[in-house]
Symmetry: C2
Subunit: 336 residues, 2 copies
């Protein structure tokens, strides 16, 4: 059977004191309102005894604090984001915060709608993987002194806290590694995107090749094609029409998987016909035949930094902190 549900009014009635007094005590404002310690203890003990639970929604209207952080990712079904989500969630838990996540699908309208939704519900802070064109929305949150940390990509013209990896250096290192291995015709398969994480990866590739006097060969794929077979056929065509290629650098996990499917269809051998480097590891890449060389993002460390940057902001210290972490190249047989 359900317990009787106590309201502040019930408590005030039963203890024969005013509602205001009970409310002050429950909101930790007894002292500043000169309520005696004895009465405070009496009320708190009674509240505990009857199992009174304040209405959290009303409470967060009053205090403006919800202990909730929103984590907006591009796509929760991308293992990189879902692993970060899982990691942040356990770190938030340790700090008595809850994380709720949602996906933007990399669509500005959806992201804006979600921010509106959460703004109306008093969440305490945001970790956002922004879509293109969200500059104003981020600026709005910042101007209202709402804690925001951008993740994975940022806007050079918006001064915000940010955590991500050094995409330029990671891409450059991976391609220099291929060049050092003797590969001379290295293709790039990437997303058509103006976002920093993507342009940086492309720039790292381009600079590595140009500095070694090699000719870049670039295939940019539309994000919208994503779950379709079209992307696999696009990559097949790219490989067939660029028959000189001896290696391919894929800038995302999904592109790598589509690329592996394309290479399998074309019956090319890895690494004999084509060497492969993937951006982002996958739990199965090490088991592949041959195992796939991958740039590994430091998921644990990224999550740790995100929490370390947002926690002081949640306590009112709005310093802007930017962290760029290195990725690690896991050398496996796909680049032998």
């Amino acid at each position: 059977m359900a317990k009787k549900k106590y309201s502040i009014k019930d408590i005030a009635n039963e203890l024969n004191i005013s509602i205001t007094t009970v409310s002050f005590i429950l909101n930790g404002k007894a002292k500043e309102n000169r309520i005696s310690e004895k009465l405070t203890k009496k009320v708190l003990d009674y509240v505990k005894k009857v199992g009174y639970k304040p209405n959290q929604l009303a409470q967060s209207l009053r205090t403006g604090k919800s202990k909730i952080i929103v984590f907006m990712v591009e796509d929760i079904s991308n293992p990189f984001f879902s692993n970060i989500a899982r990691n942040i969630e356990s770190k938030a838990h340790e700090n008595d915060y809850k994380i709720i996540y949602c996906s933007t699908d990399n669509k500005k309208e959806k992201a804006q709608e979600l921010i509106r939704l959460f703004k109306g519900r008093h969440v305490d802070g945001y970790i956002i993987t922004p879509t293109e064109g969200m500059e104003e929305d981020i600026n709005m949150l910042l101007s209202e002194k709402i804690p925001v940390v951008l993740f994975d990509r940022y806007f050079p013209e918006v001064e915000t806290s940010y955590v991500g990896i050094n995409n330029y250096q990671a891409a450059k290192d991976a391609n220099n590694y291929l060049i050092g291995k003797g590969y001379k015709n290295i293709g790039l398969v990437t997303l058509k995107s103006a976002q920093t994480q993507m342009t940086d990866r492309m720039d790292g590739y381009l600079d590595a090749l140009i500095e070694s006097d090699l000719r870049p060969v670039v295939k940019e794929v539309d994000y919208d094609n994503f779950n379709s077979d079209g992307i696999i056929r696009d990559i097949e065509k790219f490989i067939v029409t660029n028959d000189q290629l001896d290696a391919i650098f894929f800038t995302t996990n999904y592109l790598t998987i589509s690329g592996l499917k394309a290479i399998k269809r074309l019956k090319r051998s890895i690494p004999e016909d084509l060497a492969i480097v993937a951006f982002d590891d996958n739990v199965l890449f090490s088991l592949f035949d041959p195992p796939i060389t991958a740039l590994v993002q430091p998921i644990e460390d990224l999550s740790k930094n995100l929490m370390e940057i947002i926690l002081p902001q949640l306590k009112g210290n709005m310093d802007i902190v930017k962290k760029e972490l290195p990725a690690t190249l896991l050398k496996r047989a796909s680049t032998n």
Copy 2:
């Protein structure tokens, strides 16, 4: 520059009418309060013109509706759950609902804390992958007429809406397929769990073997070991000490991946030394050498059914609906 923020009071002042009238109109209660259509239109036009946005938190306190559905999964970094999340999210979006997700880590305390958190914030409904021991929490939601659909597993003694697959039949079919292929010593690697999805998978395996007069050989792994190397070593030991095994049925995706690592370490060949069937497909299983035979859960169809069952509940029709969908056995070379 930010727009001036209008309150209901501002609107009432500028139109020279009462706050109550504005409030009735904005809450769709003009007619029942005998407010003229002309005045209603005037207020709505004005609200649109100045871009007034109601405080959604206050609004949901008033209306009790938030247009938010919570999806509690076991672990968002499990691709099965993150793919379902992604799918439900886009279906909810089409119906003007938002999904927020969170992970229980399969821990009862965390799940209960999350329910408390959301209950205080007026979410409209729940899709829950319950942990063990949550019967009372589910009953409490049901007794308060809050829409709840259980997913993936259920409590036989709690009468709730539910969507999942026919785990018993799927497991039985997969093992009968192995038996038909001539395998005679089929091992089971599963989680130590009393949850229905797990006990049903084990029962399907046991019945298939027993009906064919074969001897079951079962290894149960602790969920807590999950991310450690311990589980791989456990499976290695299981394989070595049961040298008669010619096939293994893994009841989850992660167990399969750990199993593949164990088999690789032991340098056994698939399927020559050991045939493999995985519960849940993985985007890379088809690219494996050899490709891995897997029971595929109908993600699209599961998501569709979850939404079709929860939507009428959100509109007040609390009929209990249960849906058990079939899984499909994708036969690949790991069971040749």
